[in-house]
Amino acid sequence: MEHPIATQSLRWIIFLPLLGAVINGLFGRVIQKQFGKNAISILACAPVWLAFAISLSVFFQLRGVAPEERALLDNVWDWIHIGDLHAPMAFWADPLSATLLLVVTGVGGLIHIYSVAYMHDDAAFWRFFAYLNLFTAMMLTLVLGDNILVMFVGWEGVGLCSFALIGFWYEEYANATAGSKAFIVNRVGDFAFVVGAFLLFWTMSAAGHGSVIFREINQHAEVLSGKTFWGMDVVTVVTMLFFIGATGKSAQIPLYVWLPDAMAGPTPVSALIHAATMVTAGVYMIGRTNVLFSMAPTTLHVVAFVGGLTALFAATIGTAQNDIKKVLAYSTVSQLGYMFLGMGVGAYAAGIYHLVTHAFFKACLFLGSGSVIHAMHHEQDMRKMGGLRKWMPITHWTFLISTLCLTGFPFTSGFFSKDEILWKAWSSENGSPLFWLMGFCGAGLTAFYMFRQVYMTFYGEFRGGHHDDHGQGHGHGQEAHPHESPLLMTLPLAILATMALVIGLVGIPHSLGGSLEFEQWLAPVFEHGHEAVAHHAAHGSSATEYLLMAMSVGIAFFGIFVATSMYLWKTWSPDFFTNLAGGKVYTWVYNKYYVDELYQETFINGTLRLSQFLAWFDRTIVDGIVNGAATVVRGLSFLNGMFDQYVIDGIVNRLAEATLFTGQRFRQMQTGSINAYLYVVVGAVVVMMVVELAWAG
């Protein structure tokens, strides 16, 4: 790790999708008009698959060297170099980022192909793929960034693309606002992330090791220990801020509210951004900075608690949703909670493992729901579906397989990854039975709501037969039931479902005869962290592990059983739940605990009221002061004018008048008569003589 292998291949992984985005973004409209949508599709899909090929080569290159040397560095150029701050535009591939690379390019590539069919009727086909490619490039930047700043470029970039893609059908007001909501909620987290990065750099810089490069941070992290900031442990503050950033990006309590609304975007977007890749950025970020997190046990407890709470909380909401995508959205929130639970108990590898398995089966589920929505002509209400199994066998089977993975059906990928997290939640140094219990209950709920969805969508009687009557324009009979989606859509589904089944094999735990290969693969990345957190393997026995495993399988089967009896066999009416406590519980859950309303009341209306107050303040106080000052000035200048007019001008005028008056008096003397002058002269002489004589006398 100290001496990474220099390479120039990593930049191409990012550059190719970026190129696709630029071409499609700038010239897509013309290309689409001139050469058709197929040209756009090839321009969009080829870069992603090429990036996948490069990622594979990177992966095998890393596999080919000794574990402690598994790191590639691609230094493109010196980006920022100011004082201590040295941030090169460099990309870094270690086992962690290589794993994410394969997921992003692989799942992303499949979703690109799927989108070709799904978006085929959309006029803005080129725009969609430009965004999708840009998103891929940004996500890869996030994953490959060798320092916090490059990562942050990707971090913001995916947020931007998420905004653009959620609001892709922006003609509808709700979609546009959903995009804005995602962007704004993310902004809250991003702010914390940036502040955390500043604080980290500042503290390390003060200790003489200022750096934003991850491996240097890891190397010098010990200088942070004992440092405080406003009386708080600085590592705890930094990691808490990072975690707040992660809750925004990865939709955890309290910033999860944007993700369900993000379902307004096209379904492939939900699969790619809001299930497989972008929302896992927070988990990845914690993995990337695991050394810091391991130094802050308080933060880890918060991470685990928030993760566990989110896993449980979102799962309960998922049980009462009727929109096929909303169920999956809350399921995603819940599963992300599991990942954070894993990260929080110090089981970083388990969290990343669940990230990978989840990427496959949740992408498959979203694409499956997209296939259903496509077939149902954009109907998303599960109450109007049912029985689709007959007409959409491939969608049905892939959806069912992914559902089994998600519910943790034995020996599927979800089973391995979720049990790994639950086991670590119980047994790890940072774990506790409470964390396990939250995850355990969440698992039962997951099984219930997922099978509820499967049964409502694919089993029973078709309940949407009338959709042709209003407005679809097809004749009766010929479109009486939905049809299976085209090959371009079913093929990615099949591949993803297969992957979802087999990907679990890389992480079979010791207790089941495996070797936890995935954990070993990631070990070089997390070894620092594991040194800080005492190794967990010492705790708990195999017997406990088997017991816990059996219990989580048991609760999953219980959830499946309840769902089956309610929605397939109908032996038990869902009314049992809806009428619980007079229906109040159901109403609460159905309305998502009124969290959106709470935020509306507190933050949004609070902000509005604050801005109204500020506007009032501005209008009344500030403008008042300004206007008052103006009035005072006007008054003063009026007085000044009066003074000028009456006093100054008065003096001048009076003076002039006096001068005129005296002049008029004096001119009388000027008679023009010589005699008169002479009389005056003589008179004056006489007077002077008299005076002189009188004086002398």
């Binding site: 001119r667 000027q670 008679t671 023009g672 010589i674 009389y679 003589v682």
Partner: protein, 102 residues
């Protein structure tokens, strides 16, 4: 009774007063000039009298000659002005030349 300084002074005073009266009362410009000549000559009488009875030198007599010379010059200028007045107003009555009245 011998003739002394007071006699001269009385005569000069009378001449001065006559000249002054002439200057003040004449409306004819030439009459006024003539009055001025009388006044000047009364001054000459004073110069000569004081010269004769006062000091031992001839200053007074020299001054008298200066005054006569000045009187001649003054008369010349005065008559020239009178001729100018006449050409302008066709009269030499000073009451008629009041155009400088304020």
């Amino acid at each position: 009774m011998s003739i002394g300084l007071p006699h001269f002074l009385v005569v000069s005073t009378l001449v001065f007063l006559l000249g002054l009266y002439c200057v003040l009362t004449r409306r004819n410009a030439i009459g006024i000039l003539m009055g001025v000549e009388l006044i000047l000559n009364s001054a000459n009488i004073n110069y000569l009298a004081f010269s004769r009875y006062g000091s031992a030198n001839y200053d007074g007599q020299i001054f008298a000659i200066f005054v006569i010379m000045l009187a001649a010059a003054e008369a010349a200028i005065g008559l020239a002005i009178v001729i100018g007045i006449y050409q302008t107003f066709h009269t030499i009555d000073v009451e008629a030349t009041e155009t400088l009245r304020g």
